[in-house]
Symmetry: C2
Subunit: 226 residues, 2 copies
């Protein structure tokens, strides 16, 4: 019995290491995509557009690991919630990788026009989204609900910036028709970054549910009946 339990813990640690690796890749791709916009560097943008193979391979491997652990160990309670959370987190990280590609696609169009006067809050949004991803995964590994709660708070900031970016760019477009195309691409980029924040938020909510069996997803924290 002792041996089986330890074996499960070893596998759980290996699983967490894989998730962190995948999170690092996703975060790096978001960073590169935003950098491509700031520096207008087509090489960086192209690299993001072509480079999602490692994340996709990890996505499949992590899913396999989760199914194997569920089938072989039939975990209960917190361990069960940790594996199901891993399945969900894996899905969220894969989508973040896709969103980095979407940002790069908008970036490629964006740099084909003269730049819009300023990038407004786009670089800051990129940094917030990356930080949220990092914190959400740290919260998962350390089972730290306080850190998870911080991620939820950061998401409000990100949403506020998205709204600000939208208003600013609308103004710019209304005053100068020549800025319509690049402005729309920046609006799309800000929405992609907001969605990345949403995925980090999903992860943080899964962490809170896993650790405390509280469901914070649709109402203020109240205990879930068992």
């Amino acid at each position: 019995m002792e041996r089986v339990v330890r074996h499960f813990q070893d596998e759980l640690e290996a699983l967490q290491a894989r998730l962190l690796e995948m999170g690092g890749l996703a975060e790096e791709r978001v960073r590169a995509a935003v950098q491509g916009i700031v520096t207008r560097d087509m090489l960086v943008i192209d690299r993001v557009m072509r480079g999602d193979e490692p994340i996709n391979a990890l996505h499949i491997e992590i899913d396999d690991r989760c199914f194997r652990m569920l089938a072989l160990h039939q975990p209960m309670a917190t361990d069960l919630r940790a594996i199901v959370a891993a399945v969900k987190i894996n899905t969220d990280l894969e989508r973040v990788g896709d969103l980095a590609v979407n940002i790069a696609e908008a970036a490629r169009r964006y740099v084909s026009h003269p730049p819009v006067k300023q990038l407004i809050d786009i670089p800051e949004m990129g940094e917030i989204a990356q930080g949220m991803l990092r914190d959400a995964l740290d919260a998962y590994v350390r089972r730290d609900t306080g850190l998870a709660q911080q991620v939820l708070d950061e998401d409000d900031r990100l949403d506020g910036l998205k709204t600000h970016v939208f208003r600013e760019l609308l103004n710019i477009m209304l005053h100068d028709g020549a800025t319509v195309e690049p402005s729309i691409d920046l609006i799309l980029v800000s929405r992609h970054l907001e969605r990345i924040g949403d995925h980090a938020t999903n992860i943080a909510e899964d962490v809170i549910f896993m650790v405390s069996a509280l469901d914070v997803r649709h109402h203020p924290p109240t205990p879930v009946e068992d």
Copy 2:
């Protein structure tokens, strides 16, 4: 043993009925949100913006059911995959509900301006997205990989229409600055509809994985090693 197995099948059927109910609600909300744009009816739009409580309640209930079934029955093989697929499908349907709200938000801004000459392919995109949701859930309940594959094919059509809508609206904006604001909202609506199609695609891929243990998510179908 026989009794436990039957009990699991009963619970699986109850779970599927709940997922279908949730899918029906999600589909209805998408339909109403698009209808609000076509008819410019603020009552319909407001109803979509305020009405996500039933979906959120079902989301929590279905998640609870899945965890209980995993913990009590410790299912294996196809049954295990069916439950994990249900967890994922549940997440996808909840996001579809959120996207209906996003469409309604854009619709509320859209109807505050004079209409853009035509809605282009938006109504058709709405119908395709609803059909994809319906087919993906039918494919889950009937374990029908052929129908799931049709959903994947439909997604290409939806992506094509989204690109067409984007180009058309860009042209309209470039020729008439007064159309910038409502045009952007239509572009956002077309992206929300495309994302609804993506969620239906996720469900269809989960069905194919569940039934045949093929992973179609990142490459052409090849057997997954066990």
